[in-house]
Subunit: 176 residues, 3 copies
Amino acid sequence: MNSTKLEPATALAELQEQKPDRVTIVVLSGDMDRVMAAFIIASGAAAMGMPVTMFFTFWGLNAIRRDGVSGGAKDWLRRMFGWLNKGGADSLPLSRFHFWGLGTRMMKRVMQQHRMPGIPELRETAHELGVRFIACTTTLGLMGISKDTLIDDVDQLAGVTTYLAEAKEGSVNLFI
Amino acid sequence: MNSTKLEPATALAELQEQKPDRVTIVVLSGDMDRVMAAFIIASGAAAMGMPVTMFFTFWGLNAIRRDGVSGGAKDWLRRMFGWLNKGGADSLPLSRFHFWGLGTRMMKRVMQQHRMPGIPELRETAHELGVRFIACTTTLGLMGISKDTLIDDVDQLAGVTTYLAEAKEGSVNLFI
Amino acid sequence: MNSTKLEPATALAELQEQKPDRVTIVVLSGDMDRVMAAFIIASGAAAMGMPVTMFFTFWGLNAIRRDGVSGGAKDWLRRMFGWLNKGGADSLPLSRFHFWGLGTRMMKRVMQQHRMPGIPELRETAHELGVRFIACTTTLGLMGISKDTLIDDVDQLAGVTTYLAEAKEGSVNLFI
């Protein structure tokens, strides 16, 4: 009798293992504010013990590029695009009031005054807390960004199937 | 025997209690169309009996500011930012075709013709249906918005941990 | 005794039936990059056997409009808006570096060089894999788009309640 009484508890435990409080965040945006929010949520969740994976795609890839490195594309079309889209986490524009850099610089000043960390620091904290960084293989090529221009903290290069396999295991799945 | 047979049902009930159909919406965007969608989904879910929480952060804070009130910041940098970012739910721009206000006004005219409620009305309905409004403490300071310029319907000021504690209890977690 | 031992397994199966790995995607954005990501995720999930529904609203409706067809609105205000917002999946702008069409055309060239399918092809693949397309009734009117200018692959016209009924059955619910 005792063993049958335990069964439901086991079922519960099994289920909770199947759906842990996993967090996945697709970062398509390369806007400073959206990327900041993404890293803050990721770090918060990791600090609470939830496994977190961030998938960087399209403009979001700028957030995991090394600073001061050009895209690395060989053909002129993507090189030109890479020049427009020169990235590095420290030079992401605001989604509003960027004003050719002025508004964004203003916001950064305010952040410094509040002793708020910038994107590179937020990213480092997230990674130290165990947040996994995945760069989207499909859009890397499209954006004219070569693998060796990404930061070392990138854990994996992968496609949509890897993302979905993780997303279906969790319930906090954000698209930023 | 009867009691053991009931166990699985109890396990089920417990689990369903653990993961109710909770909805959380992070509103980072301050675009009229995105904020409208957020309030419509929130009200719809609340009307269907789901507990709903909206977390307003960055530009999204504009949607829960009182009209015709300046930010309330004291230093010139944030005051200037606050002037640029003068909010109030009734003056949010469209994410596309804002055209210095022209496109947005056009859309509002169309909405009136269709007898569609504007953002202030949508927000009121949501709150009346029981949707909780949380303002992000971290970005309030960053945007140069003081607490007393927010609408009275704001239920709580909180950070990312509060958001995540609610998000992990639900399965409909949107980032807008 | 044997039958009671089976109960927890039944409970498990029932629960798994209650929450299948359903995917819902609200497509509010009409930006080429965001719509591309939406279709790629939708197709990926459908190929993995997950039921997927896409809800097109606001600018996202442009992604399911027939090419070269005007909005179909009768009053001048919405006709003018429809003219500004002339859609068709093949003419969606990039969310960044659109540059009056130049940047977007550049990206399309790069996509062709990589033999990457465009939006119309991605959309077709998604629908062939069983992804359901729902057009939002509320915003159709607002955007001045008549039903008969939508593509034939649209499965349903519906509102927020239909969306929520599906979203609460799944755990991968994205807002793009």
